[in-house]
């Protein structure tokens, strides 16, 4: 067997290896994340410079430019995606640290999250109908305020497209995390508990990630809101969906 000559065929072999092995996908994702964090710092930690958005934009550009299939990329980064589960469980720790505060505002928090979650689902469905979106698109967007690992199952029950839902949920989280702090400043909500609840209900994990970096209390309440919203939407949305005509 002759050793393949260096040059084109050698490069192709390396390319095939890189496209298939998790090493390249994970490395690219971590580098994109670091670049996004750096850019966020350069922008003075402005909420609009959301690192999740920047990292996704960099990687989407990279995949399109290199002609790499998304499924191959996702296979490679499955490990990072898997960590969402343990991270959700880990929210028990900040919640426990703030337990006294959480317990005192439990009822108000519950009502706020229920109201916010229902409003989010209702406005998404109403907009879908009003603007004549395809039914599977409406079903994909209805549960958009719930965190990613939770939402795929709900969308499947409603007849949505899980991968579209995942993308929309993250888009929702990014818009919430980017515009949320500005909106809250505009309406003069200063209480960290209220700000955390708002971020967790409307922008789930992405908003919570932002809240955690800003204030520990806001982060704990954001995690609480995210969990409660996931519970409420998972229980109520399939029931509400059945009541809709058509």
């Amino acid at each position: 067997m002759a050793v393949p000559p260096a040059g084109m065929s050698g490069l192709t072999e390396i390319w095939v290896y890189l496209a298939r092995d998790p090493l390249a996908a994970l490395t690219a994702t971590l580098l994109a994340w670091l670049a996004a964090l750096r850019l966020q710092q350069l922008a003075g930690r402005h909420p609009l410079a959301n690192p999740v958005l920047i990292a996704i934009a960099l990687l989407v550009g990279g995949l399109l430019a290199a002609g790499i299939d998304y499924r191959a990329y996702f296979e490679g980064t499955r490990f990072a995606h898997f960590l969402l589960g343990p991270a959700t469980v880990a929210f028990a720790v900040p919640l426990y640290r703030q337990w006294q505060l959480v317990r005192r505002s439990a009822l108000a928090a519950l009502l706020a999250v229920l109201g916010g979650g229902l409003f989010a689902a209702a406005t998404s469905i109403a907009l879908g109908f009003a603007l004549h979106t395809a039914p599977e698109v409406t079903a994909s967007i209805a549960p958009r305020s719930v965190t990613t690992p939770v939402v795929m199952g709900i969308a499947e029950r409603l007849g949505g497209l899980p991968s579209l839902t995942a993308a929309l949920v993250i888009a929702s989280g990014i818009t919430g995390a980017a515009l949320g702090p500005l909106t809250l400043n505009l309406v003069r909500v200063k209480d960290w508990r209220a700000r955390g609840l708002a971020m967790g209900t409307a922008a789930h994990g992405v908003g919570t990630a932002r809240a955690l970096t800003v204030d520990a209390t806001a982060g704990a309440f954001s995690g609480l809101a995210m969990g409660l919203n996931a519970l409420a939407t998972a229980l109520l949305l399939p029931l509400l969906w059945r009541l809709l005509p058509g």
Partner: protein, 100 residues
């Protein structure tokens, strides 16, 4: 750190088993979070330091974990080109919970 990771995974696993056994529509990790919180509350002591470190490390980089699924938007670029108006409206944060 390995001990804390094992504890987190154990709670998630228990959550998944409970969700499936009782046919709950609630996702396993959320039940796992409730179970873990219950366990911490029962202990009454502050959370162990190793556990705090692991939880903070995971949650401090929470945004990174959303990136792989978010890049999936690349699959739906044609659909987004068609339905971009309702989708972008529905994603905007015009609906905060009543906050006091």
């Amino acid at each position: 750190m390995i001990g804390s990771l094992a504890a987190l995974l154990l709670c998630q696993l228990a959550g998944e088993v409970v969700a499936r056994a009782l046919h709950l529509p609630v996702p396993g990790p959320v039940i796992g979070m409730v179970l873990f919180l219950a366990a911490l509350t029962l202990r009454q002591d502050p959370a162990p330091e190793a556990l705090s470190h692991t939880a903070d490390a995971l949650l401090g980089n929470l945004g990174l974990l959303f990136v792989p699924a978010g890049v999936g938007v690349v699959l739906h670029l044609p659909l987004l080109a068609r339905d971009w108006a309702p989708l972008s409206l529905a994603c905007s944060p015009v609906r905060w919970p009543p906050s006091r």
